[in-house]
């Protein structure tokens, strides 16, 4: 039991990181039905910004997270402006062209980081002394508390924002029917940009948290994390904000349980095996709305 609880704690910490990235995927998808493949790279840039701030400016934890979030917000806006907006404007650009453009942006960003930093893995400097607390037989480290805490805070903040602000209402309207929302006076371009900015900020925060937790930052870290987070978003039902959180936590838990069962060689396959199984039973994801296609 204690062992199980312990793995639950580890899984929650890992799952929180996936959930934070998955939120970005799901929000963008909910509004413009685009898989933003460059998201994993934005997460990676977040981790590097945090690292840079700590190494050169001796920033503390909070400054590192806020700095990374600010930088990735700008980066997300630039990517949207350069790689996606022109395609949205062009009449004969299908969704696949947008996907290829996103992939181009992803390749560009990861190569850029290899050029800036080199392909090697860098450890994250210790920001504070890690300690372990024992809680009902399971030990939880300060790092894990930090990750779960910061993630929960950001998720609650996002939920309140989407639910109770005017901008949030406009975003929800846009995801229900973009044309109708535009007719009601919603500035769609601005709302899409805000969505990208929010998602990128969350990915940036996730990057710093992951850098601290795994004590490793490298230019290709975004690929696998991005794929798993995307799987998490689809698992929960893409377009659904609670779904992304549930999916992220589930995938994190499944991965940790797999490692605990001495199957760590197979861990990268777990997320996707679960995803495929769920999709076979419930094709629109756990919390997703099923769309009935009308003629």
């Amino acid at each position: 039991m204690a062992q199980f609880l312990q793995q639950m704690v580890n899984g929650l910490a890992l799952g929180s990181i996936y959930a934070l990235i998955a939120l970005g995927y799901t929000m963008v998808y909910g509004i413009i039905a685009l898989i933003n493949f460059a998201y994993g790279e934005i997460y990676m840039f977040g981790a590097f910004t945090g690292l840079f701030l700590v190494l050169t400016w001796k920033a503390n934890l909070y400054l590192a997270i806020f700095g990374a979030m600010a930088f990735t917000t700008v980066l997300g806006l630039v990517v949207e402006r350069v790689a996606y907006r022109p395609l949205r404007r062009s009449r004969n650009a299908g969704r696949l062209s947008a996907l290829i453009s996103a992939i181009g942006a992803s390749i560009f960003l990861s190569t850029l980081m290899v050029l800036l930093h080199g392909p090697a893995t860098t450890g994250f400097p210790t920001l504070f002394q890690n300690r372990n607390f024992v809680l009902g037989g399971a030990s939880i480290s300060l790092y894990q508390i930090l990750i779960i805490g910061v993630s929960a805070l950001l998720m609650v903040g996002l939920d309140l924002f989407v639910r109770y602000t005017k901008t949030g209402r406009a975003m929800r309207a846009l995801s229900q029917d973009a044309d109708a929302a535009a007719l009601m006076g919603v500035n769609t371009d601005l709302m899409i940009a805000i969505t990208f900015a929010i998602g990128s900020a969350l990915a940036g925060a996730a990057g710093v948290l992951a850098g601290i937790y795994f004590n490793a930052v490298q230019p290709y870290m975004g690929l696998m994390a991005g794929l798993k987070a995307f799987a998490a978003a689809v698992l929960g039902g893409i377009g659904s904000i609670p779904g992304a959180v549930v999916g992220g936590l589930l995938i994190g838990l499944a991965e940790i349980m797999g490692v605990a069962a001495k199957l760590s060689d197979w861990k990268d396959a777990f997320a996707f095996a679960i995803l495929i199984l769920v999709l076979l039973v419930k094709p629109s994801g756990l919390l997703g709305r099923s769309i009935i296609k009308k003629v």
């Binding site: 062009s90 290829i100 992939i103 197979w266 396959a269 003629v295």
Partner: protein, 347 residues
């Protein structure tokens, strides 16, 4: 986009144009003979080319040919049938490993090994085709992506594939004439398939699944068929790849490989054979041509993808009918071809 010639207004867009050919050209023995003559010509030309060009350029041509075979399979699944696949490299991996095991462990002849590699991949294509019955669009895309990741992890952990170390000791059995002939045969087979009843059914699935079902097209059957045939092509290509490099490892067939193959199809023009071939040639040659930039080449590659999609979202040959273009260039007068829109995926 879809401009219909006055002469044939009312014809179904996408239907093959009525061609004005002499009747004797339509007899199958004549066509078979012409095809054989073409293969012999390709063999002679590439055999001569092999003597003239340096080894490095020959190698690039070789990989271009292999990639053409593989991306034609993806074009059938994604371009013609409209089922977005992000895991095409998995079929290539299955074919590569199956063919390699056939020649190295089972001592089977190379030709049989290639065929078996293709068939095993096709079997997995059928297995993966089944989820498409329930999934569509991006859900399908992520399922194929997941399938590819699972294949990679399985290949990394199985004994028979020699795990992460990679499978080595494969004999080099592939040369340029062989690949060129197979690539030409693949193009011919795809052109034949796409103009057949089955090809039209597949295209109807892409254009409007509900309308296709209502018209009596068994969409399930044709989706699975597209996956099986597409996977077969990838499997054969994988077998060729394994017997070219003589060493394969699971990371050769990762997500980035699938993405690269999809970029080739989309860049050239979805659903167009000529476009797929062109996109494959450009994207296989581009990293080599950009090699002088050393570290910056992938940066340029990524930026090029974005710029191309902004200025030609339908792909290089998207919406261009090659026969039409050639006729116009030769000033042979107006053809009776109906142009269809292939910009994006038509949604």
């Amino acid at each position: 986009m879809s401009t219909v010639d006055n002469s044939v207004s009312g014809a179904v867009p996408g239907a093959p144009a009525p061609r004005r050919q002499p009747a004797w050209l339509k007899l199958w023995p004549v066509q078979a003979l012409l095809f054989l003559a073409l293969l012999v010509a390709v063999w002679a030309v590439t055999e001569a080319l092999n003597l003239v060009i340096p080894a490095y350029q020959g190698q690039i041509l070789l990989f271009t040919g292999i990639n053409v075979i593989i991306t034609l399979g993806l074009n059938l699944i994604t371009g013609v049938t409209g089922q977005l696949s992000l895991g095409h490299a998995a079929f290539m991996a299955i074919g590569a490993y199956a063919a390699a095991i056939c020649t190295v462990s089972l001592h089977l002849p190379f030709a049989l090994a290639l065929l078996l590699g293709g068939l095993v991949a096709a079997l997995f294509g059928v297995v993966l085709g089944f989820p498409t019955l329930r999934l569509s669009g991006d859900y399908l895309a992520i399922a194929t992506l997941g399938f590819a990741e699972i294949v990679r992890v399985v290949n990394t952990n199985l004994k028979i594939t020699n795990g992460a170390i990679g499978y080595y000791g494969i004999q080099k059995r592939v040369d340029l004439p062989l690949v060129a002939m197979l690539a030409v045969a693949a193009v011919a087979a795809m052109a034949w398939l796409e103009n057949s009843r089955n090809g039209r059914a597949m295209r109807s699935v892409r254009e409007d699944e509900i309308a296709a079902t209502a018209s009596g097209v068994n969409t399930t059957f044709y989706k699975i068929q597209a996956f099986a045939v597409g996977a077969f092509f990838a499997g054969v290509g994988g077998g060729l790849y394994a017997h070219t490099t003589t060493f394969i490892q699971p990371t050769d067939f990762g997500f980035l490989k699938s993405v690269e193959q999809l970029s080739m199809v989309v860049l050239g023009g979805m659903g167009s054979i000529a476009g797929t071939v062109l996109g494959t040639i450009v994207l296989t040659a581009a990293p080599e041509l950009l090699r002088f930039m050393s570290n910056y080449r992938m940066l340029v590659y990524g930026a090029t993808l974005i710029v191309l999609m902004i200025f030609r979202p339908g792909g290089l040959l998207g919406g261009v009918d090659l026969r039409d273009a050639v006729r116009r260039a030769l000033m042979l007068g107006r053809s009776r071809t109906v142009r269809t829109s292939v910009g994006g995926d038509g949604q």
